[in-house]
């Protein structure tokens, strides 16, 4: 019975678009919850920094969230995914499903190659690997063809200044 439930959950999690269903998160800053995923949509609530949120779905730059009292859309960057305290069953299951469980710990105990400062300092030039690396190099044109084959189109968009319209949201 337990396994059945687990499998059901697993299937639900792996379905595209539902993969972050009922994931927990916490607010990185105070922000407004809106009825629609647009900055001029009606306000339906708000939350304070550190508040726990339930993430229901994602659309572009917006997350649909639920707090203890309100629900609606909030900017993706106002929310930190994953619960900050306590267990996080969802992400653990995701890790299991993708075979990532316990990666961090394994590194320390099985001697899989790490990259700490000492190892970097002691590193010796490896000419064979450099040649290999350079053998995969693509030309600008090849990059463009690859983009086209994926339906990617270049967009004109200027660099972002350091910080702007802080008070606008």
């Amino acid at each position: 019975m337990k396994i059945y439930k687990f499998l059901l959950l697993l299937v639900a999690l792996l379905l595209p678009g539902v993969s972050i269903a009922s994931e927990m998160g916490s607010a990185l800053k105070a922000d407004i919850i809106r009825a629609e995923p647009y900055s001029d949509a009606k306000k339906t609530g708000d939350f304070a920094r550190g508040d726990k949120l339930e993430i229901i779905s994602k659309k572009g730059a917006w997350l649909k969230v639920k707090t203890t009292k309100d629900s609606g859309w909030v900017r993706l960057l106002s929310v930190k995914r994953g619960a900050s305290k306590g267990g996080n069953a969802t992400s653990d299951i995701l890790k299991l499903a993708s075979g990532r469980a316990g990666t961090g710990q394994v590194v320390a105990t099985t001697g899989v190659r790490g990259l700490n400062e000492e190892e970097l300092k002691a590193a010796k030039y490896n000419a064979t690997e450099v040649k290999k690396l350079e053998s995969y190099t693509q030309t600008s044109m090849q990059g463009q063809q690859f983009a086209q084959s994926g339906g990617l189109k270049a967009v004109i968009f200027s660099y972002l200044p350091e910080s702007q319209n802080k008070g606008e949201k």
Partner: protein, 297 residues
């Protein structure tokens, strides 16, 4: 006696410097030429051009604006050392894929003239590195965390931005070794890797050094923009930062990344400040998760 000896060496260095002034003049022309072929007339373009012009009136080796070849040579040496610590993942399909994504993203910046190289290395650490001249390396541990092509583009964009802004060259410029190595570099480039080796320090230690926090935030902002310009979903990089932020703080796989970078939460807040509602009109960005190359092991 010792002082006299030092003065002699100093004079010899000046003579050598003048001897290679002509070579360097050619190198400068190359810098100016490559600058003019850059795609867009952004700020960094203007700055580099004016640097080049400045050094033209004072013909001495100046790492403020090394020639493209010199920049590549330095980056190649650093990357070679890094590959000595961890070799490439033995999967040509993976490496080709990453180079295609990276090359397309790099085309959107001001250094499309560089021969960009991208690689995934055998390490379960979560980290990414950039070296001058267009060398970008991601660990297998970080690649494992990615879910789609837009996220890969996001990570590559951040590193590409470091190269465009010469952030690591600036670190080398600050190091004491630089003064010693600089005037030799122009003369012996390509003949004696030991000179560059002296310049970059021990092994790949430059990869373990922290940049200014402001340089990391700048690379994040530029990264989001380059990802957007390439036609991807703009939030590829922030999503990866979210994922990394979720990973336990004490995981050893993140030790070096957390030591050399601001915390992902701080980076996300800074990005949010900079982005505001500017990305609201970008609606057709692609994630291309169906094309994303999954690791074999």
């Amino acid at each position: 006696m010792r002082a006299l000896y030092s003065i002699l060496i100093f004079m010899l260095a000046i003579v050598m410097l003048q001897a290679c002034a002509n070579d360097f003049g050619d190198a400068l022309q190359e810098v100016v030429k490559s600058n003019t072929t850059w795609e867009t007339g952004t700020k960094s373009n203007e700055v580099s051009t004016s640097n080049a012009a400045k050094s033209e009136s004072k013909p001495a080796f100046n790492l403020q604006s090394p020639s493209k070849q010199e920049e590549i040579q330095i980056g190649r040496e650093i990357t070679g050392n890094l590959l000595g610590a961890a070799p490439l993942v033995n999967d040509a399909e993976l490496q080709n894929y990453v180079n295609k994504v990276g090359r397309w993203v790099a085309n959107q910046g001001e250094r499309a003239d560089l021969p960009w190289h991208f690689g995934i290395i055998e390490s379960e650490d979560i980290n990414a590195f950039a070296a001058p001249g267009g060398y970008v390396i991601i660990t297998k541990g970080l690649y494992r965390k990615l879910e789609n092509e837009a996220q890969l583009a996001g990570v590559l964009s951040h590193e590409i931005a470091h190269v465009i802004k010469s952030h690591h060259l600036k670190i080398l410029q600050k190091s004491q070794l630089l003064d010693y190595g600089a005037n030799l570099l122009g003369k012996q480039l390509g003949k004696d890797n030991q000179v560059i080796q002296k310049l970059i320090g021990r092994g790949a230690e430059v990869c373990a050094r922290s940049l200014d926090k402001s340089a990391e935030f700048e690379a994040d902002r530029m990264g989001v923009v380059l990802t957007t310009r390439a036609g991807y979903e703009p939030y590829g990089l922030p999503e990866v930062l979210q994922t990394i932020g979720q990973t336990s703080n004490d995981a050893s796989s993140l030790a070096l990344l957390f030591k050399t970078h601001p915390h992902p939460d701080d980076r996300l807040v800074k990005l949010d400040d900079a982005i505001g509602n500017r990305l609201d009109n970008i609606k057709d960005g692609k994630t291309l998760s169906e094309r994303f190359y999954h690791l074999k092991n």
